[in-house]
């Protein structure tokens, strides 16, 4: 660069330049972390409120949608016809063979039993978020709803890109890759659940 610095000892000169460059780069990287990390969920979001829900008022064949962590959760009191329809499905027919239930081991299969908690097969609780691109599927709709007197019951259909879920919330047709996930929840009494 310039003639004035050439007469200094080359190795020592290089060492201090390189060392300073490394220390500066490391410091800059560390200083960037707070600016990146501030976009992660903050303490108030992480301390997520869990939601408690009384299932008793939900009549058979009725479903409600509640909000948990900003997302809709479907809570459905299934009819016997819906449960039977779900149980009749062979595992080979499923697009996604895994249970996708946060309350059972990850490798468990998507049987109807593994889609509910505590053996209470009447109550299906799952995220109302299509696993394709996140729209909210419409209930009592789709090609895999149970048919009672020619009326669709159970089953979900996502209007955005045409994904069909069956009466256990499993993906059967369309672009969605996975079954609707079941969130962490437990029964705190016979008819009361706590999500989260």
């Amino acid at each position: 660069m310039s003639t004035t610095i050439e007469h200094t000892d080359v190795t020592r000169r290089d060492f201090i330049y390189i060392a300073t460059g490394v220390v500066g780069a490391a410091g800059t990287a560390l200083a960037l972390w707070p600016f990146i990390n501030q976009m992660n969920p903050d303490a108030s979001v992480l301390a997520l409120a869990s939601v408690e829900l009384d299932l008793a008022p939900i009549a058979e064949g009725q479903g409600i949608t509640i909000k948990w962590r900003g997302n809709p959760v479907f809570v459905r009191h299934r009819t016997q016809a819906e449960i039977d329809a779900a149980k009749a499905v062979k595992l080979e027919e499923l697009i996604d063979p895994l249970a996708r239930n946060a309350n059972v081991p990850d490798t468990d299969q998507a049987t109807d039993e593994n889609r509910v908690v505590g053996g209470k097969e009447k109550y299906l609780v799952m995220m109302g978020v299509c696993t394709h691109l996140g729209c909210v599927p419409i209930g009592n709709d789709g090609d895999y709803a149970a048919l009672v007197d020619n009326v669709k019951t159970g089953g979900w259909f996502c209007p955005c890109h045409g994904s069909h879920y069956d009466t256990a919330g499993r993906i059967r047709k369309g672009p969605a890759p996975e079954n609707l996930p079941v969130p962490v929840y437990s029964y705190i009494s016979d008819t009361k659940i706590k999500i989260g």
Binding site: I5, T8, I16, T20, V23, G24, S44, A47, L48, A49
Partner: protein
């Protein structure tokens, strides 16, 4: 050139001055464990202070910016999460609306903020003779115990000392003062808008029973609750000092290295 530094630093120090009101005493300069660049909170003291807040102050004062979950945060009283659950449940929190569209009351959860003891400011005023008990979340940062820019530079603003001094500063008015005493007010020369204060002396010996066996004198409780409010106002203080130490250490080393680089580059160059 040195002169300019002296002038500038004195100017700098004095430029944020403010005056203490007449008839108000500067706070008593008691010392706390969290003072100084390395000071940390005393967990036991914060836990005791919480108890004083809960059993005495919380009857009238809200602490809206603090959640129960914060009580188990690192750098605070560090109760266990189980203790926090139990502590939260001793408060009643308004929630709702439920399915019937009505508000209801339930025990507090760790994610709740400390509830206000009154429905609104107007209710708080009418229950306290027209005086609004301030929210205590930030009180030790909002109320200086003393003034003087150079004084504050070296000793801080004395916020915790202010709380301590108000709590221990109640006096019986003498005959002459008693004539001036407004109804329902007490005499306290440390109160920032004093000397008459709407809050009657809140502490008396053994008004709380400490779990760790510490004797609950007025002085002890005042110290503990002041420390607790220092934490509620600046919950990240320990993290800040710790990160500050690392940052300054790094910067000192890096500055020195850059100085050597600069010296090397300029070596033999007349300038």
């Amino acid at each position: 050139m040195r002169n300019i530094f002296i002038i500038a630093s004195v100017a700098f120090a004095a430029l944020t001055g403010a005056a203490q009101a007449e008839g108000v005493l500067p706070a008593k300069d008691i010392s706390f464990s969290f003072e100084g660049p390395m000071g940390t909170f005393d967990r036991g003291q914060l836990q005791r202070g919480y108890k004083v807040y809960k059993e005495v102050c919380a009857n009238c004062h809200a602490m809206n910016l603090v959640s129960f979950r914060n009580l188990s945060d690192k750098g605070g009283p560090e109760f266990t999460p189980e203790q926090v659950k139990a502590l939260a449940a001793t408060f009643t929190v308004k929630d709702g609306p439920n399915e019937a569209g009505e508000m209801f009351e339930r025990p507090g959860l760790p994610t709740d903020r400390f509830p206000s003891p009154f429905a609104n400011d107007e209710a708080a005023k009418s229950a306290n003779g027209g005086a609004l008990p301030p929210d205590l979340s930030l009180i030790t940062k909002a109320r200086p115990g003393w003034y003087g820019t150079i004084n504050q530079f070296f000793n801080g603003i004395g916020g915790p000392q202010y709380v301590y001094s108000v709590l221990t500063g109640y006096e019986e008015p003498d005959e002459e003062m008693a004539k001036l005493q407004p109804p329902g007010k007490s005499l306290n020369h440390y109160f920032s808008a004093g000397p008459w204060i709407g809050m009657p002396a809140p502490l008396s010996d053994d008004v709380v029973t400490y779990d760790d066996g510490t004797k609950a004198t007025v002085d002890q409780m005042a110290r503990d609750v002041s420390a607790f409010m220092a934490w509620t106002a600046e919950p990240k203080m320990e993290e800040r000092k710790h990160l500050g130490f690392m940052t300054l250490l790094y910067l000192a080393v890096f500055t020195l290295m850059l100085y050597l680089v600069k010296k090397k580059i300029w070596h033999g160059v007349p300038h």
